[in-house]
């Protein structure tokens, strides 16, 4: 059984993993770069080892250094968290070779799922639906028309050599097929000197819905239902929720089965996520598999009632899953938002700096996974995520209300954060109704601009407070009032005390 885990990561996920280890009575080893000496994961770990300069390539991505620390510290397992080495097949292989348990899948699963083409082929073989389309470039008009008819409209035609929108054509009507293929090809030819094209089913209103799975080393795989992750900005998830507001029990069951089949196709063990693209009619297609813990895993933990990190460790220990599919169910609704150190109103510019003051939201239904603290300087070398706020409610409506309440009470000063922006998202009508797709942020710009929620009184009070603070500071610079006469003993005592106080 695993007794000491090296956590090859930093930030909130490193601390989150160490929490579960502590609950299991497992010792933890942290590793840190130059920038992270004062980071929370170093303080939280039982042991901490320096592994190199601040840039990740010279520290958190250094497999050799990490392996060295694992041996020096006597760790019997390594948890990679997410990012960094978490989906690195060579690292998984290195752990195997060195006889240290890698808390994650084996190199084969990582490799197969890591390569888009191989993954797609493996899924087709396993009868998991993929987005209909060609895998080989088409250089022939007739063949292109045939394929389009097979896939069914609408489709997107993309230049094989392409990029930047050149040689792309969306076709919605049968009468436009030939025209579009010809246009795309000649544009591609002109732009890239190559008229080969790919053809892919076009999903007009795409939803990003993913399924959490868990597989043990005995061939058992279960899914822990879906997460709706369609609120994205530049392919970066911003808000995640479960259940998905568009899901039905029937489709959920079928997608769950597909997710389990996908995992079984690569003999998957560990925690993993099958990402699907889903259209408005709930047709779903395999997009990719993340062979690691996801940032948004806590919403699943909350609604299903399972600690996923503990499950990962149990699986790495070779234990069979202790629940079957029919034992699992969803209860209530959970939403996660990611709090970034960024200036959301200024092109989402990162805002590194020192946290001056932090007030975390508390109370019923609120989970907070963070790692920052007062006086902590958010380093500029890594992802600017400060924390994740996860709320649960009996219903989706209650969860949204609770999240707004929690954001209202979450105060971070010293750096700009995405808190006000997140609050605005929660008030967009499409979000409130639960009818949104991955174009949500783009399409709702008018709701996402900074607004004035407060009357002129607010502005006045802001001004007066600053004014008052300034006057108070000025006053403190004046010479102090002489102390009262209290008899000689008292004066002696006073003097002595002030000396003692340096």
């Amino acid at each position: 059984m695993i007794k000491k885990v090296l956590v090859a990561n930093r930030g909130e996920i490193a601390v989150r993993i160490m929490r579960s280890c502590r609950e299991m009575g497992i010792k933890t080893v942290g590793v840190f770069s130059e920038a992270d000496r004062s980071a929370m994961h170093v303080r939280y770990a039982d042991e901490a080892y320096f592994i190199g300069p601040s840039p990740s390539a010279e520290s958190y991505l250094r497999m050799d250094r990490i392996m060295e620390v694992a041996k020096q510290s006597g760790a019997d397992a390594i948890h990679p968290g997410y990012g960094f080495l978490s989906e690195n097949a060579s690292f998984s292989a290195l752990c195997q070779k060195e006889g240290i348990s890698f808390i994650g899948p084996d190199p084969y699963a990582i490799e197969t799922m890591g390569d888009k083409i191989t993954a797609r082929k493996t899924m087709i073989a396993a009868n998991v639906p993929v987005v209909p389309g060609t895998t080989e470039p088409i250089t022939d008009l007739k063949k292109a028309v045939e394929v389009i008819q097979e896939i069914g409209l609408p489709v997107m035609i993309k230049a094989s050599a392409g990029g930047g929108g050149k040689g792309m054509r969306l076709v919605k009507e049968a009468s436009k097929i030939v025209e579009a293929v010809s246009a795309a090809r000649s544009e591609a030819k002109a732009a890239f000197g190559d008229d080969a094209v790919y053809i892919e089913k076009y999903i007009a209103s795409p939803h990003h819905i993913e399924f959490q799975i868990l597989g043990d080393k005995h061939g058992n795989v279960v899914h822990l239902f879906e997460r709706e992750c369609s609120v994205q900005r530049r392919h970066q998830k911003v808000v995640e929720e479960t259940p998905s507001p568009i899901m039905t029990p029937e489709v959920r069951a079928r997608m769950g089965e597909a997710a389990v089949a996908a995992a079984k196709a690569v003999n998957y063990h560990g925690a993993g996520t099958i990402e699907f693209i889903v259209d408005d009619n709930l047709n779903y297609y395999f997009l990719e598999m993340n062979t690691r813990l996801q940032v948004e895993h806590p919403i699943t933990e909350r609604v299903v009632g399972v600690d996923l990190v503990k499950q990962q460790i149990n699986i790495a220990n070779g234990l069979p899953l202790k629940f079957k599919q029919e034992d699992l169910k969803q209860s209530g609704h959970a939403i996660e938002v990611r709090i970034y150190a960024e200036d959301s109103d200024n092109n989402f510019m990162p805002s590194p700096g020192t946290i001056k003051h932090i007030t975390e939201p508390l109370g019923l239904g609120v989970r907070h996974d963070g790692y920052a603290y007062e006086g902590y300087e958010i380093p500029m070398y890594y992802d600017p995520m400060i924390s994740k706020l996860i709320v649960w409610g009996e219903t989706r409506e209650e969860a949204i209300a609770r999240l707004k309440r929690a954001l209202y009470n979450y105060k971070i000063t010293g750096v700009k954060t995405s808190i006000p922006y997140l609050h605005r998202i929660l008030e967009v009508p499409a979000f409130v109704e639960g009818s949104y797709n991955t174009h949500f942020i783009e399409e709702n710009q008018q709701y996402l601009q900074p607004r004035t929620n407060c009357s002129g009184r607010c502005e006045d009070i802001a001004a007066i407070t600053a004014f008052f603070d300034y006057l108070t500071k000025l006053e403190k610079l004046q010479p102090a009032v002489p102390t009262k006469e209290l008899g000689s003993s008292w004066k002696d005592f006073g003097r002595k005390r002030s000396i003692l106080r340096l």
Binding site: M349, P350, S351, P352, G353, K356, H357, E377, M380, Y381, Y382, P384, Y408, K411, T413, G414, P420, H423, R451, T452, N453, C454, R457, C458, E459, D460, I461, A462, A463, I464, T465, A466, F467, F468, D469, Y470, L471, T472, K473
Partner: protein, 168 residues
């Protein structure tokens, strides 16, 4: 004594009329405010005005006279303008658009320094490039300038508001 206070783009007149413990009377432009004001945490004030409860957070910005002020969902830039500030503001206007010092508004790493002491640079020329969280920002001059002193070199880590180049 009356002060000028700049709140975002508005300039208001403020005067503290009285103070009795937490209770203050302030005249802001032509409005009289009677507030119960208290610093409850460092930089966090609790204010009760006509029984409405406000929480206001102050973060000192460039200096002791300028603040970022956060109320419920809003953020204001507030600057207290005294004689000295006025002088500096006027002087700055005379100088044209550039600050006399090019400073990085946020911590980062100096990626490129394109000038050296004594260089003459043209309006719009980039002087220094700073990277933070994988984004690069270019710092330019707005007028033809003389580089008086370069205070950083490539590879240096700079803190927020640290002067990098002094110009004339």
């Amino acid at each position: 004594m009356s002060y000028e206070i700049k709140i975002n783009d508005r300039i208001a007149q403020a005067e503290l009329l009285s103070r009795n413990g937490n209770q203050i009377q302030v005249m802001l432009d032509d409005k009289l405010y009677e507030l119960d004001i208290m610093e409850v945490e460092r930089g966090v004030y609790s204010i009760i005005h006509n029984n409405s409860s406000f929480n206001v957070e102050l973060v000192e910005a460039k200096n002791a006279k300028s603040y970022t002020v956060n109320t419920l969902y809003e953020s204001f830039d507030v600057q207290i303008i005294d004689a000295e500030s006025k002088y500096l503001m006027n002087r700055k206007k005379d100088d044209g658009e550039d600050d006399l010092v090019i400073a990085s508004p946020m911590p980062g790493k100096v990626v490129k320094v394109l000038v050296k002491d004594g260089d003459q640079v043209k309006a719009g020329e980039t002087v220094v490039v700073v990277s933070a969280m994988k984004m690069e920002s270019e710092y330019k001059v707005k007028q033809d300038r003389l580089i008086k002193k370069v205070l950083v070199k490539e590879g240096d880590t700079v803190t927020g508001d640290q002067p990098m180049v002094i110009i004339e």
